[in-house]
Amino acid sequence: MKTIPDKNILLFKSCLVNVEYPGVESSTKYIFDKMGVEYFIDPNQSCCTGLGHYYDLFDQISTSALSARNFALARKSNHENIVTLCSTCYAIMKKSINLLNSNKKARDEINGILERAGLSHMKYNVGDLDSEKNVFHMVEILYSKVNEIASNIKKDFSNIRIASHHACHYCKVYPEDAITGSRNPMILDEIAAAFGAEVVDWYDFKKATCGAGFSQRFANRDLSLSATADKLMALEGKADLLLHMCPNCQMQLDRYQPVLEKELGRKLNLVHLSVAQMAALGMGADPYKVLGIQTHSVPVEGLLEKIKDI
């Protein structure tokens, strides 16, 4: 397995975590603080553009020029290990580094933009960062510390059936770099198993998209919800909790579950948490002050009642 850092980490802010599930960020900070992971949140970091990129609005050069600026910030603060909370941030960072490292034409173009924008000091040089060695997803840090976290666990998850939703942009854009790959992703299941939960493992549509489809959620609502329904219906009666690693997926499944329940006339009894929220919960974090479950659409309280202290 690849080497996962636990210091010099730039904890990369995510637009959807900011406004939909801020508890994912506070939970990650909670775990990192407890585990002694050294990280920095940079107020000057701009957003990855991922949503806009996949709304077909951003061109690759604009996206990667903004990435280059963030890379320069990471280098300046000596926090070159970028750890994202969102799978799209993860894939966008990797793509930008690869493009900047291997495509001279694109690199020259981007450096030209930075120069004209008065940011010559932020120009990118080949090899400044490495897409395999400098970009990580929060779930990878948790995975690398899973035994430590598990031994600090204060909650009993054994009567909770946990299924996983592995984010596409973590698994499928760079499958070789994804721990447990794209064909049978297990990283979330393995973490859940380490916490003593009953793991659902495989279900139909396990690898399928959440259905958000970036613009599809808005421009093609029915199409988007059909894909979301595939996933939720496959889990009907199989799991109590669906574990997430991407705020966009979490939003799609958590916020639209009540909508689909109404449309399909079914009750799903499935609760959504980010893997960071679950880990923080296990370590004793407050559901409201750390996990931020008050921002969820599907109420989490019922599940919390089933999870007892050890």
Partner: protein
């Protein structure tokens, strides 16, 4: 008639005479260098352009003669007579290309050592490529005189005969290994079959039925194989060693020293009568590999009823040594004190017939192998359909024992897949395997529907007949590569697009069969490493040349056959096995003659640094126990090792430095003021291309003077200096970019370029050219351009 006879006698007489004189050492280099030059008019081909009289009178040699057709049989007598009469000890033939007739003239000059014959090519390199008679004649004189100077420095060499011990070790006891073993044993070669499993027979005994393009039927594989296996067991020249693997190997000049380890099976094979009482009492049950783990066997077991050797064996890993079997054995055959043995085997040749492995289907988890009981592999299905299999030949679902209503086969599982853990290649047999199983199912269970999802049906050659035969039984084909196999309401579902109809679909089915790729086995790779045999990009054993040396590996006297070399069916495996056996036999029977030039190491100078081993792409250089040695059979005499040797311990026999310097001298010494001379050093392919220029009467400037070398690796900076110092205006080095010497070439080109630069010589005076035999016009163009550039330079 009489006349001829007397002539023959006469010739015989001369030969006898010369043999006598030979003994008096009159042909050694010391005896005075008496050179005879024989000029061929070639029926006008040469004499129409070259003024033979002028050429004849300009050559300084002990004898100069002209002949109409020097290659004709009666000239043989003339040449021999002159050699005797003139007491010649070396000969120059001025005529056609040595590629055409060197052997002929070496034979015609028979009393002389063949390496005392020099051929000067005044046809392809002079009369056929130049039209100006005067210039052509001048060039011919220069070429012939250079030949005379060169041959004066020639040294007599004897051919190197390599002998191979009359024994062979065959790794792998599958159909390929067995075939090669039998062929060799029948030719009197002592053969040892080394098999890692407790029994021989390989995949073929497992698969039940084999397909055949000719008979349009599925035949019983065991019935075909059993008689052959019996021949193997009973053959006095074959020894079978099961549960045995190679620990290490040493290479010697005529054999390999193989150190083998035979794992213990706690059973005295010679005492066991295979009664089976032991297995009855054994309390340990483990999944049975013979049935693809669909049934159980005991820890003491016989892999299958017709297993060879016909003895029980203990699976040491799983045995708990309870001793029950030992007590029950009447033959006293079981002994837990038996240890693994280390065996040393001296073997002239090695044949790698280690076969393949089936693709690990859990690497494509989207198809649900291991997740769903009724997703199985073709090999699993072969066992299920086998009458000696887990269901005694009945097609049953593993989950509930029912006959499936529908079977969906997924082709190319793991094959033709560039993704991680996938195989880029086509596994070649899976289309036929799927058809075979479809055919058997349709015969026995006409109500069961068989659907084959494929990307391309590759039933090449005669197998197309087989495809039609099976199609007629009513198989459904869907042209599309399925994305996943899932389970909905207890039914398997295959998601696939019917690409011909542009119809994505979900096919409900009872059973899914994955056509697993053929992949190189771990054992093969391990063996290759120990034998220093090269692997292909896809990690099979690499053949020396896929077209003309398909059974050779890159190491002399190590051969390969069967699926160890790449995916293939039984027919092709058997052909290749027979080819490998023929190649082994060829070396044993005839010995092999190595032709100079070859490299030779002077052991007294060698410091054992191993640089020569690294640089030799032909793997001719190897380290044996005491020395570094060069296998003359593998050596091409290219000279790369000699160039890399810091001690100067390697000599190239067959083209020594004195010859090279003398030839350069000769080609440059008559150069006039203002004239351009370009030396073209050509390897064999380059030389062939130059000949072809002549054959096609394409012209190029007279300034081009060609020197034949084994490889540009033969040239050292001192040769380059010598040429420039002696008047060369330019040097062209042309060579075929042989794959296995590419690195050495690059290094050589770098070395020579750097050297030229360091001497302050303009870089355009030393040129490199990749020669290809058919692209002779390219070479002619090179000659032309080089000459132009050098003329222009002179003009300045």
């Amino acid at each position: 008639m009489n006349n001829t006879k007397s002539k023959t006698l006469e010739t015989q007489d001369i030969i006898n005479k010369t043999r006598a004189t030979k003994k008096q050492d009159s042909f050694s280099t010391k005896s005075g260098e008496r050179v005879g030059v024989f000029i061929c008019r070639c029926g006008g081909n040469i004499s129409d352009t070259v003024n033979i009289q002028e050429l004849k009178s300009s050559i300084d040699a002990n004898f100069v003669g002209e002949f109409e057709n020097l290659c004709s049989i009666n000239c043989r007598r003339h040449i021999r007579e002159e050699i005797i009469d003139q007491n010649l000890d070396r000969v120059v033939i001025a005529g056609c290309s040595p590629l055409t007739h060197l052997k002929t003239f070496q034979n015609y000059a028979d009393p002389l050592n063949p390496y005392m014959v020099e051929m000067v090519n005044i046809r392809e390199q002079c009369s056929w490529v130049h039209s100006d008679k005067e210039k052509a004649t001048k060039k011919a004189i220069s070429l012939v005189q250079a030949g005379v100077e060169k041959v004066k420095k020639a040294k007599a060499l004897s051919k190197i005969i390599s002998r191979t011990e009359k024994s062979a070790a065959i790794f792998g006891g599958g159909i390929s290994g067995i075939t090669a073993a039998l062929s060799l044993a029948n030719q009197g070669v002592k053969v040892t079959i080394i098999e890692k499993n407790p029994t021989i027979g390989g995949f073929m005994v497992k698969i039940g039925k084999v397909f055949s393009p000719e008979k349009l039927a599925e035949e019983c594989s065991l019935c075909i194989l059993n008689p052959i296996i019996n021949d193997v067991i009973n053959h006095k020249n074959i020894k079978i060693m099961t549960k045995t693997r190679l620990l290490r190997a040493g290479r010697r000049s005529s054999y390999f020293n193989l150190i083998l380890e035979k794992d213990t099976s706690f059973v005295h094979e010679d005492r066991c009568i295979a009664c089976g009482k032991c297995a009855d009492v054994c309390p340990v049950e483990v999944p049975d590999e013979w049935n693809q783990k669909m049934t159980m066997r005991k820890a003491i077991y016989k892999p299958f009823s017709q297993a060879v050797p016909d003895v029980y064996t203990i699976d040491v890993e799983n045995c708990i040594q309870c001793g029950k079997c030992e007590k029950v054995c009447n033959m006293d055959a079981i002994d837990f004190k038996l240890k693994s043995e280390i065996i040393s085997l001296k073997s002239g040749s090695v044949v790698i017939a280690t076969g393949h492995e089936s693709y690990d289907l859990t690497k494509r988890p989207e198809y649900g192998y291991g997740r769903f009981d009724d997703v199985i592999s073709q090999l699993d299905l072969a066992r299920i359909l086998g009458v000696n299999g887990p269901t005694l030949g009945k097609l049953q679902k593993i989950s509930d024992g029912k006959v499936p209503e529908r079977v969906v086969m997924i082709q190319c599982t793991g094959s033709r897949d560039e993704k991680t853990d996938g195989k880029r290649y086509c596994s070649k047999v899976c289309c036929m395997v799927a058809l075979k199983h479809a055919s058997i199912i349709k015969d026995k269970y006409p109500d069961t529907e068989v659907v084959i999802c494929y990307t391309d049906l590759r039933t090449v050659g005669m197998y197309e007949n087989y495809l039609r035969y099976v199609q007629d039984k009513g198989i459904k084909f869907i042209r599309g590569r399925p994305g996943e196999v899932t389970k909905i309401n207890d039914k398997l579902v295959v998601r696939v697009e019917d690409t011909l109809q542009r119809k994505p679909m979900e096919i409900e089915t009872d059973m899914v069969v994955l056509s697993e790729a053929i992949e190189p086995s771990e054992g093969t790779m391990e063996l290759a490493k120990k034998l220093n045999v090269g692997l292909s990009q896809d990690l099979f054993i690499k053949e020396k040349h896929s077209k003309i040396k398909p059974a050779n590996t890159d190491v002399e006297r190590i051969f390969v056959c069967g699926t160890a070399q790449g995916p293939k069916d039984i027919t092709d495996s058997v052909s290749q096995a027979n080819a490998a056996a023929a190649k082994v036999s060829e070396q044993i029977k005839c010995g092999t003659e190595a032709e100079p030039p070859v490299a030779v190491i002077k052991n007294s100078l060698c410091s054992h640094c191993g640089k020569c081993i690294e640089i030799c792409g032909f793997k001719a250089v190897y380290r044996d126990e005491e020395y570094i040695s060069i296998d003359p059979m593998a050596c091409r005499g290219c000279g790369a090792c000699a160039g890399s040797c810091p001690e100067g311990a390697i000599e190239i026999k067959g083209l020594n430095d004195q010859e090279l310097f003398a030839q350069m001298d000769g080609l440059l010494s008559d150069k006039k003021e203002g004239e351009v001379r370009i030396l073209a050093f050509l390897d064999n392919v380059g030389y062939t291309a130059a000949d072809t220029i002549g054959n096609n009467r394409v012209t190029y400037p007279e300034s081009i003077r060609i020197i034949k070398i084994p490889s540009i690796n033969r040239l050292m900076p001192e040769h380059i200096t010598y040429a420039f110092d002696h008047g060369a205006d330019g040097i062209l080095l042309a060579e075929y970019p042989d794959e296995c010497m590419l690195e050495a070439h690059k290094a050589k080109i770098q070395e020579l370029s750097d050297y030229v630069a360091s001497k302050g010589i303009a870089s355009n005076k030393l040129r490199f050219y990749k020669a290809y035999a058919p692209h002779f016009r390219g070479l002619a163009k090179q000659f032309e351009n080089f000459n132009q550039d050098m003329l222009a330079e002179k003009g300045k």
